[in-house]
């Protein structure tokens, strides 16, 4: 611990004396005051501007939409969880379909190559989204591990419209992130992309080449999951 103590000692015994810490006013990153419609419009504007696909669906028929998306895109193997209601409902709806359902509640070491090479899409829930930047937020779980939103070529994310919030700052505050962070917290805003070849955008460089967001809208009786 010699380096540690030496570094801290130098920092504490600062030659020009102790520094005073200013207070911060965070007003500029909060208090947007958008209506639900504005939030949704902004979310959609921003996430589609970076190649995210947004598909709106009534809550009660969302699995029909999912089935159609999978068919349209020719997806044959879909990785998904088992416990989250999104996974439960999707599994139920896809039980008889042609799409093969791939379990993800396995340690990655046992199926890494399979995941990298023969899964067409990953389905995940989301905890919410940010209107200002068009970002989904996810806290991966044992049921929906980190890599299923990253490794398969297509990521299908299910978002309930009423979980949209205005800004990242608002989300961090409203959900008490500081009180306990998960192993991994993620903002996802579009498919993987690069502009490293002469500023030309290319998608799917390491992660998914497509991000499909199924936005579920609550109807009169139906509640968000």
């Amino acid at each position: 611990m010699r380096a540690r103590d030496a570094i801290l000692k130098r920092l504490r015994e600062r030659a020009d004396g102790p520094l005073s810490a200013p207070d911060s006013d965070f007003a500029v990153v909060t208090n947007r005051g958008w209506s639900a419609e504005e939030r949704l419009a902004r979310f959609e504007h921003w996430i589609t501007s970076v190649h995210g696909e947004v598909i709106h669906t009534p809550h009660e028929t969302w699995t029909d939409t999912l089935t159609k998306v999978l068919a349209d895109k020719g997806m044959r193997r879909l990785a998904l969880g088992k416990q989250h209601s999104v996974a439960v409902e999707a599994r139920r709806a896809l039980a008889g379909a042609e799409v093969e359902l791939v379990d993800v509640d396995r340690d990655i070491e046992t199926w890494q190559r399979e995941q990298f090479e023969s899964v067409d899409a990953g389905l995940t829930s989301t905890r919410g989204a940010i209107a200002e930047t068009g970002s989904l937020w996810l806290w991966p779980t044992p049921d929906e591990p980190r890599l299923i939103s990253l490794v398969p070529p297509i990521h299908i994310a299910v978002l309930d419209a009423d979980t949209l919030e205005d800004t990242f700052f608002d989300v961090v505050k409203a959900h008490g992130w500081a009180g306990g962070m998960p192993t991994n917290a993620l903002l996802i805003s579009g498919p993987s992309k690069t502009a490293d070849i002469e500023q030309t955008l290319a998608y799917g460089v390491h992660g998914p080449r497509a991000l499909v967001v199924l936005v579920r809208h609550a109807t009169t009786q139906a509640e968000g999951a």
């Binding site: 380096a3 540690r4 570094i7 801290l8 130098r10 920092l11 030659a15 520094l19 005073s20 810490a21 207070d23 911060s24 006013d25 965070f26 007003a27 500029v28 990153v29 921003w46 970076v50 993800v104 509640d105 340690d107 990655i108 890494q112 990298f116 200002e132 068009g134 970002s135 591990p145 980190r146 990253l150 990242f168 700052f169 961090v172 992130w177 500081a178 962070m181 192993t183 991994n184 917290a185 993620l186 903002l187 996802i188 805003s189 579009g190 498919p191 993987s192 992309k193 502009a195 490293d196 070849i197 002469e198 500023q199 030309t200 290319a202 799917g204 460089v205 390491h206 992660g207 998914p208």
Partner: protein, 495 residues
């Protein structure tokens, strides 16, 4: 603490050194391809940045960004201890390194404890700073860059020329050639094809990697969280796929609270590339927990000093440490735009590099960098955390000629008797108004200040022509002609 503590210059890699700034700049200026690549890229980046802030109260946001960074620096030792405690409580192992050599050794030892032979890297400037790849190579451990730009640059046996866009000096055709020569990829001008080829090549490497090494954009003391900003997903791959993740960061990257992150992230992406957000914002707070199915089983954080605690001592130099590494200063720098990143010969090129590198490498090595600016102020104007870069450049010029506070290694190295005498001469002249007023003889004297060098002015421009008279003389004549008109008489007792 020694500077340049371990010289493991990458072998076989095309190297540049700040000592050769003039020659390297000369070569870059004479290379139309380089000039065109940078001009095009910088023009685009400047426009995108401006547009991305269009709906924002940018000044207020910058004020907040600066304020957050200042607060973090004000509490730096406490926050580092808090970060360490929270990381450790979460299961992240924290290491401290005085300099790059120690950091390299720590990383090597972690690798060796896992019999690691293959390391995959996410983008990390601090590991560039310590030449980690070359060091690991010498220890028999292969380090592969996975950011597409870094990968291309590594294939081309070069170093990055921009901190955010490492391969910005290469154009599509050059990249096609590199991929063809080094990986056998078929030549193409299609960017999607090239990207897909790189994806395939790198996926194999992610699966095979024993260790992932990444940088850190913000380290949150309050929660022990490491934040990584990226678009490609290689950062997530690097920090999720290999069984061991080592995050490396300078000690200044810590922020106090989680709520400090959103404003800095908003500033970073827009300042860097004009993006309203990046594809991924990846926040890591622990290794894989019991019951989780993926993610590394071990996460290490290496905190590197490497001269930063020395910068920290000085009230003025301290501002250097606010930097969030967005690269906006280089994107807007008319000098960087023309000479490109490699000319600087440092890990961090452009204005931020010119105020940071002297601390990391010493002024002897970097003495031409603080002067490589016209002090136009574009860098300071766009800096998202309001670092007064031009003032710091001037401060380092003072240190170079021995008229600063001596708080920078190599202070005074640029002072020559001849130049010092010339400035004393200037001082004498400018504090003897009667001599100054002697008029036309003065320009001749001023020109004598730098007899050897003023010649270069006329290689590109006509020589400035001293006027036949001076303003002093003209004013005198003007006043005399006016005083003939009685109504213009001055009531003032002065001149």
């Amino acid at each position: 603490m020694s500077l340049q503590s371990h010289d493991v210059r990458p072998q076989g890699v095309q190297t540049y050194t700040p000592r050769e700034f003039h020659h390297q700049a000369h070569d870059a200026l004479g290379n139309p391809q380089i000039r065109a690549n940078f001009r095009k890229a910088m023009d685009g980046l400047m426009t995108k940045r401006r547009d991305s802030f269009a709906d924002w109260d940018l000044e207020t946001l910058r004020e907040l960004g600066a304020n957050i960074r200042l607060r973090a620096l004000a509490k730096l030792p406490d926050l580092l201890e808090q970060l360490e405690a929270n990381c450790e409580a979460n299961g992240i192992r924290v290491h401290w390194a005085e300099d790059g050599e120690q950091a390299c050794r720590i990383i090597r030892e972690i690798c060796e404890s896992h019999d690691a032979r293959s390391v995959v890297k996410g983008k990390s400037m601090v590991t560039e700073e310590m030449h980690l790849n070359a060091y690991l190579e010498q220890a028999g451990i292969e380090a592969l860059e996975s950011d597409l730009g870094e990968y291309l640059v590594q294939l081309n046996e070069q170093t990055p020329s921009h901190i955010i866009m490492p391969a910005i000096h290469l154009n599509t055709d050059e990249i096609s050639e590199i991929l063809h020569d080094k990986t056998g990829t078929e030549r193409t001008r299609d960017v999607d094809t090239m990207t897909a080829a790189a994806r395939q090549q790198l996926r194999e490497r992610f699966m095979a990697a024993d260790v992932g090494v990444s940088g850190v954009n913000f380290a949150v003391a309050e929660t022990g969280t490491l934040c990584l900003v990226e678009n490609e997903g290689n950062g997530r791959m690097t920090t999720t796929v290999p069984p061991v993740h080592i995050a490396v960061t300078g000690i200044e990257k810590v922020v106090e609270q989680l709520r400090d992150v959103p404003p800095l992230y908003a500033l970073l992406t827009r300042s860097a590339t004009g993006q309203h957000v990046t594809t991924y914002f990846n926040m890591i707070s622990s290794p894989r927990k019991e019951g989780e199915h993926d993610g590394p089983k071990e996460v290490h954080l290496v905190l590197v000093d490497s001269g930063r605690s020395r910068i920290y001592q000085d009230d003025e130099l301290l501002d250097t440490l606010r930097c969030i590494r967005c690269g906006a200063c280089m994107n807007h720098c008319p000098v960087y735009t023309r000479v490109g990143g490699h000319s600087y010969g440092t890990t961090y090129p452009g204005p931020i590099g010119s105020i940071l590198s002297p601390h990391l490498m010493g002024l002897e090595e970097t003495k031409d960098l603080p002067t490589a600016s016209s002090l136009c102020g574009a860098c300071g104007e766009v800096c998202p955390v309001k670092i007064p870069i031009p003032d710091l450049l001037v401060r380092l010029r003072r240190e170079s000629v021995g008229e600063g506070r001596g708080n920078v290694p190599g202070a005074g190295v640029k002072r020559t008797r001849k130049e010092a005498a010339a400035w004393k001469g200037f001082q004498w002249l400018a504090t003897h108004p009667a001599v100054w007023r002697a008029g036309t003889s003065v320009p001749g004297k001023l020109r004598a200040l730098m007899p050897a060098k003023l010649g270069v002015w006329t290689d590109y421009r006509t020589a400035p022509k001293p006027a036949g008279t001076t303003l002093h003389a003209l004013v005198k004549r003007h006043q005399a002609s006016k005083s003939h008109q009685p109504n213009n008489k001055s009531h003032e007792e002065e001149p």
